[in-house]
């Protein structure tokens, strides 16, 4: 018997895992997505009829949620970027000996489960939290207005939950910037703002791209934040998938999932092309 070389043997467990838990389910999902209910059958009994218009139906039924998912995810990503960039910059260049402690603090929310953090966010923004009474006593929020069950709650919840995913890649790429290139920029007649625009930002683009993807992709498919923090007017695609799944409408669930995957794939591809990470070392 010909000896199989070691690298292939080492790849085998990974391939086996991916095949079992990624390829097979995807194929199964694709297969279910074109099925139709068996006439006279029980709920959840389907047969393959290759009905591709399942996709059209699914999209038309949930296009509002699709739009909302993409917009919410985009806004949450931008908020997270706006918060994380200065944070990562400070960590990389200004934190000095506190760098490691502060990095641990950035990751600290991960010690609490995603669900619990979202519930905590609901408490903070809820009627009994300190935010709403404070804003009301300052006259910024009227007595009848609430924060939970709004788009604001859902979007800030996502920005909050995914902030570490934005901060860490940004930190990694900003930390790699040689501070002497920033000095060189100042030496070559660029003021602080121009130095940021022409040197710091382009050199941190790999982190910006990685961070925004790591935030946008899970945010677009998220349903926990909308479920816990949102109201009936804030449902996202994830909520549709969940609700269809609970009533055993598997073909609709599968086709919506595929549309979401395709949409994210297209957006990410265009984004990476535009952001052009290959220009950055």
């Amino acid at each position: 018997m010909k000896k199989i070389s070691t690298p292939y043997l080492l790849l085998l467990p990974g391939f086996a895992f991916l095949f079992t838990f990624f390829i097979l389910p995807i194929v199964n999902l694709a297969q279910v997505s074109t099925q139709t209910p068996i006439e006279g059958g029980d709920t959840g009994e389907f047969k393959q009829t290759l009905r591709f218009s399942n996709y059209v139906d699914a999209f038309l039924d949930s296009r509002e949620q699709f739009g909302r998912s993409l917009v919410y995810a985009l806004v949450a990503t931008l908020i997270a970027l706006a918060i994380a960039y200065p944070l990562a910059y400070g960590l990389a260049f200004k934190a000095g000996r506190f760098k490691n402690i502060l990095l641990v603090l950035v990751v600290a929310p991960f010690f609490v489960s995603f669900l619990l953090r979202t519930v905590a966010w609901k408490q903070i923004l809820g009627e009994n939290g300190f935010v709403v009474p404070t804003l009301r006593s300052l006259g910024i929020l009227s007595e009848s207005t609430t924060i939970t069950s709004t788009a604001f709650a859902v979007i800030t919840g996502m920005a909050y939950n995914f902030l570490p995913f934005m901060t860490l890649p940004l930190y990694a790429s900003i930390d790699r910037i040689d501070p002497r290139t920033l000095e060189a920029s100042g030496d070559l007649y660029a003021n602080g703002f121009t130095t940021f625009r022409k040197v710091t930002l382009p050199l941190s683009m790999p982190g910006v791209v990685a961070g925004t993807l790591l935030t946008f992709i899970p945010a677009a498919g998220d349903y926990v934040n909308a479920e816990i923090l949102g109201g009936p007017n804030n449902t996202m695609v994830g909520n549709v998938i969940q609700s269809r799944f609970l009533v055993s409408d598997y073909p609709a669930t599968s086709s919506i999932s595929f549309i979401l995957m395709a949409a994210i794939l297209v957006i990410v591809t265009i984004y990476i092309r535009k952001a052009g990470t290959d220009e950055v070392v």
Binding site: R180, E183, A184, G186, Y189, V281
Partner: protein, 382 residues
Amino acid sequence: MGESANSARGDLKLTRITKSYGDFTAVDDFSLTIPEGSFFALLGPSGCGKTTTLRMIAGLEEPTVGSIHLGSTDITTTKPYQRPINTVFQNYALFPHLTIFENIAFGLRRRGIKGVDEAVNKVLNLVELPHLAQRKPTQLSGGQQQRIALARAIVNRPALLLLDEPLGALDLKLRRQMQIELKWIQKEVGLTFVHVTHDQEEAMTMADTIAVMNEGKIEQMGSPADLYDNPETAFVANFLGQSNLIKGSLVGTDGDSLIADLFGQKISLPRNRSHAVDSSIVAGIRPEKFRISLLQTPTSGNVLSGGKIEDVSYIGVSTQYQVMMPWGQELMVFEQNDDGVAPFQIGDGVNISWEPIFTFALRGDEDVEAGTEVMPEDLDEE
């Protein structure tokens, strides 16, 4: 302010500059004038304050006390981007995301200069790398990056070009070649160069004027030949090349010469090379100025007799001897290998002689070890 500082020209004048970081004084009451158009070197060991001085000139640090003038313009607190001064950074600090062309054009573009192509191409030709314009810095060798860093600075025609250990990262052979090229480029463009280095050979090869720095102060300033032939302190005598320093005392005069007693043996030295303040001196002679002869051979000039060869090292162009003197001091002697044989053996009894004019005298209280413990080769980059 920006405009007037940016167009400033003339001599650079540092007046009573002090820079402290907490308790540590990096630069201590430092004054210096660098004439326009000169190639000036700040030479000293690691931690002597030379890089701090350079950063203050560039505007990357602000002096704690004192002022910096360029011509008649006070630039002490002017921002770096408002100074007509450019720096060739240690390790170059090229922008990794820009092409070589854009790296060089960076300063021109920031000043809003239109049509940068001609200036950039001209300077690329000057450093002989026009074919690399569209590459990225990481695709270049160390020597090429060094030249691009230089091109990026000189394309701006600054009043002052600062070079911070620019050759430190290059290997020895390339370093020697770049020294000659830098010197040539400085003549070609006619800019004032201020070069910071810990490599005394580099400073001597390139600079018109060298300021030797130690512990935040200038030890001595002058032309390379001045510093080498007529050092004023033991630190300079030891840091620039090597020196034999022998304790003694002045015992008389003879016209323009002084007579000194070194452990019972009389020598003479030129009066204008004595920096002694009283009769106690340290006499200094460079190792290559010494001649060795066997005890019986007649000699002229200054003679120290009663030596014994302790060690012989054949170096190729020269042979280096360690000679033990009767008072227990080892002297270094470099003899040119121009007669085909190394005539002296370990254990030979010898006299050491030299021309009196090659003697210098330092103050008697100088620490003869100063500057010897810092061998340039051992230094890390600051």
